[in-house]
């Protein structure tokens, strides 16, 4: 069962995000009003821990389970696509109150109307694929 580790990682991810309340529309709203440190604490401590883990992995040349040294893929250099795409994403994030991870997780908590958001997000990705060559990147 080579996929078991991914299912378990997903379960862990889902539990952590629900227990952190980061899946909540209310917490996203509060974050964008700068009225709580909570979400900044989550993202900030995740990034700091992440930087430490990635730096250790690179310096100690830790290999992944496929035997390849750990080195996350660098992102392509650009400003336009990240700023514009990010801005559109942010508008949707604050409106629906869910980004792609929480969307799935919330379905598990019984928020089935989130399925509409997932379908709409899939449609959004589809439309991006259709017109991507016409957009500035």
């Amino acid at each position: 069962m080579k996929y078991l580790k991914f299912i378990l990682t997903g379960i862990f991810f889902g539990i952590v995000l629900v227990k952190s309340e980061a899946v909540s529309w209310y917490r996203i709203f509060e974050m964008f009003r700068f009225e709580s440190f909570h979400m900044y604490g989550i993202i900030g401590s995740a990034v700091i821990t992440g930087i430490i883990l990635v730096q250790i992995a690179k310096r100690k040349k830790i290999k992944n389970i496929e035997g390849v040294p750990i080195h996350p893929t660098p992102k392509d250099k650009s400003i336009t696509r990240y700023l514009l795409g990010g801005l559109l994403f942010g508008l949707g994030w604050a409106l629906a109150g869910a980004c792609p991870g929480p969307m799935y997780i919330l379905v598990g908590t019984g928020a089935f109307s989130m399925l509409i958001v997932i379908i709409a997000a899939t449609l959004g990705t589809f439309v991006y694929g259709l017109i991507k060559n016409k957009l500035p990147h």
Binding site: T9, G14, T49, L53, V54, P72, Y104, G108
Partner: protein, 185 residues
């Protein structure tokens, strides 16, 4: 046990999220939840319409398994590892939401004013979910990642493009929260 049932503090959950990211890198993959939306398109045959979806979606099966797990994780956390939902929001946040006409604020993970079926089946309600979802799906692919891929993985790897994307996320989120949501509610 009560410590488990209570909401977990940010200084516990933040580092645990970094571990999720690191586990996926260690498994030779990457932490990127929005990529699954592209996989859904490819599975539905979108490759006929755009080369962007001509991907062998079987290579993405691992990520669909993460999604599958995340749904189960949400179920377990909400129904077995939590007390009744009662999110301790800032009183100013609650006041603002009351001025929108929201009630029972923080008593559910998502506001019933947007997500319960009465709201969903109103014109305004369905537009909120569809437009919100659409912008997330479109924006994340345009930006090449979402909160997991850019804010956590990208920033952990000190990627300037991810920092630009996260700044974009915040500009969009601030515009929506401060200027558009007050017009909608």
């Amino acid at each position: 046990m009560d410590l488990i049932l209570q909401p977990w503090p940010w200084y516990i959950t933040g580092p645990l999220l970094a571990i999720v990211m690191f586990l996926l890198i260690y498994f030779g993959k990457t932490f990127g939840m929005s990529s699954n939306l592209r996989t859904f398109c490819a599975m539905a045959g979108a490759g006929k319409k755009s080369d962007f979806f001509k991907i062998d979606y079987k290579t993405q099966k691992w990520n669909l398994m993460v999604v599958f797990g995340a749904v189960i994780g949400g179920f377990i956390a909400h129904f077995f590892l939590s007390n009744e939902t009662n999110i301790q929001l800032n009183p100013h946040t609650i006041e603002k939401l009351q001025s929108f006409g929201f009630e029972n604020i923080g008593k559910a993970l998502v506001p019933p004013e947007i997500y319960n079926w009465d709201a969903v089946f109103s014109i305004k309600g369905i537009l909120i979910l569809v437009i919100g979802g659409f912008l997330v799906g479109f924006g994340t692919r345009y930006a090449g990642g979402c909160t997991s891929g850019h804010a956590i993985t990208g920033l952990s790897n000190l990627q300037i493009p991810s920092l630009i994307a996260v700044i974009g996320f915040f500009i969009g989120g601030l515009i929506m929260t401060h200027f558009i949501l007050p017009l909608i509610f």
